[in-house]
């Protein structure tokens, strides 16, 4: 019961999901629409609630035990509380019953998203540029032909996207400028290798999914009882 019921449900819903692409009847399409856009979305809300509960419990425990960096757990909990309060009470676009404007100063959840979350996330991604450049400086060495190809193609692609690339190769005939070679690398060898890798990955994913659907792969059921 503890294994067979979930497994049976999974196979049943798997077949149901599979048929979505093959049964164009309006009744079936309407059924799948309701299932996808209402039923499964409502179920997923509880997964989010569980995740948020885990996050809160983790930080509360860290504060209680005075674990490493426990003081910053207050930052997460307080910002979570404030953002949730403003978001729920103030409405997504600031049309809720909680006032989200003082004079010309707006603090609705969309403004918080664009003024707090967007700078934070884009700066974090931008930070990676420095680490990638530093890692490349330390590890990129043209020790053999293959390493040389890796280094060379990375260099040409980077050069092709900055004005200095045009400045250095501008005297060459058309088709041999850094930008042209960079485009060629992206469109020919890069496309070929990426396509092969993507095909391999997709076939691997398909194999795993068929194993899950047929009940061969059961690790998602977790261990124990």
């Amino acid at each position: 019961m503890r294994v067979k019921l979930p497994l049976g449900l999974m196979i049943f819903f798997g077949i149901l999901g599979f048929t979505d692409s093959f049964v164009p009847h309006p009744w079936a399409q309407n059924f799948h629409g309701v299932l996808r856009n209402k039923v499964l979305i409502v179920i997923s809300v509880f997964a989010l609630a569980l995740g948020i509960g885990n996050l809160i419990s983790h930080h509360v425990t860290r504060i209680k035990r005075k674990g490493p960096n426990w003081i910053h757990s207050y930052t997460t909990l307080i910002s979570l509380g404030i953002a949730t309060l403003i978001g729920i009470m103030g409405g997504v676009t600031g049309n809720g019953w909680l006032p989200t404007r003082v004079g010309g100063f707006k603090y609705d959840i969309q403004t918080i998203y664009f003024k707090v979350l967007v700078p934070l996330q884009s700066t974090m991604f931008a930070l990676l540029a420095f680490f990638m450049a530093s890692a490349a400086y330390r590890s990129f060495r043209a020790r053999n032909l293959l390493a040389g190809l890796l280094l060379g193609s990375a260099f040409v692609v980077m050069l092709g996207q900055v004005p200095i690339g045009e400045l250095l190769t501008g005297f060459l005939p058309p088709g041999f400028h850094a930008a042209d070679i960079s485009t060629w690398i992206m469109q020919v060898p890069n496309t070929a290798s990426k396509r092969a890798i993507e095909l391999g990955l997709t076939l691997g994913v398909l194999g795993t999914m068929l194993k899950i659907l047929t009940g061969i792969e059961r690790s998602w059921l977790g261990g124990g009882r």
Partner: protein, 254 residues
């Protein structure tokens, strides 16, 4: 000695910021949100020096605000329209007209059918009751099963077939610019040889060896190109952040 250098560096940063502030005091932004953005940008960039409290503060702030945003978005975009509205309308209809089959129609604005996914979703919390912890597998099974079933045909129609179609070389490939046809042949060779390189069911000997060797050349050029492309994408993000500092905040750039 090292400590002194650090203090001198910090003093230099403060003096530089002071000069910058003085020289740009007329153009500097008066928008409080811009100042918040500047503080957060500098807080994250401070990690380049080393891990510090300000960076950790920013890191924890991302987690809190991002989750708060997703909670409020879920409440307004899912819970209110798909749960609260149909149920409250359903109760009103029940009080006014009595029970009817229409209340079980999921497409109706007033329906009780949404109680089914609510009950299934609640099973996620069964994990906190050891005796019934296994019930958490039910919503997981429904979710995994449905989306796994949907992904199988989608993977064929969305990835496998279009990629294979794009790889094919036909007479039409040489119709316009003949060089384009040559590049398509090179792509075809690259796809086949790269696939050979990742084919481990037979030892790479003879033809397979040369095919795999050609494949690894494509893979290395491809990885290098992807690396260069990713670095440039990150650098453009970094330029964007500096642009924000020098244009939106200080008003130096226009």
């Amino acid at each position: 000695m090292r400590g002194n250098v650090r203090y001198l560096a910090w003093a230099g940063v403060v003096v530089a910021l002071g000069i910058l502030f003085y020289s740009t005091r007329s153009t500097i932004s008066h928008d409080p949100w811009t100042w918040v953005g500047v503080f957060l940008t500098v807080a994250v960039f401070s990690f380049l020096y080393r891990e510090n409290r300000i960076y950790r503060f920013a890191e924890h702030l991302v987690v809190g605000v991002a989750n708060g945003y997703s909670i409020s978005f879920t409440v307004h975009r899912v819970i209110v329209p798909y749960v609260i509205k149909p149920l409250s309308a359903g109760f009103k209809a029940l009080a006014a007209d009595g029970p009817s089959l229409k209340l079980l129609d999921p497409n109706s604005s007033a329906n009780f059918i949404i109680l089914v996914p609510l009950a299934i979703g609640l099973l996620y919390f069964a994990r906190f009751i050891p005796k019934y912890a296994w019930l958490v597998r039910i919503p997981m099974a429904i979710f995994m099963g449905y989306y796994t079933g949907q992904t199988v045909p989608a993977a064929f129609t969305g990835v496998v077939f279009p990629q294979l179609k794009a790889t094919l070389v036909t007479q039409a490939s040489f119709g316009g610019d003949p060089w384009l046809g040559v590049w398509k042949v090179l792509v075809l060779v690259g796809v086949l040889t790269t696939l050979t390189y990742f084919f481990f069911s037979r030892e790479h000997k003879g033809v397979l060896k040369w095919s795999a060797k050609t494949g690894i050349i494509y893979v290395m050029v491809g990885f290098g190109a992807s690396f260069g492309f990713t670095v440039m994408a990150r650098i453009s993000l970094a330029i964007g952040r500096f642009y924000f500092l020098f244009r939106d905040w200080l008003g130096i750039l226009h």
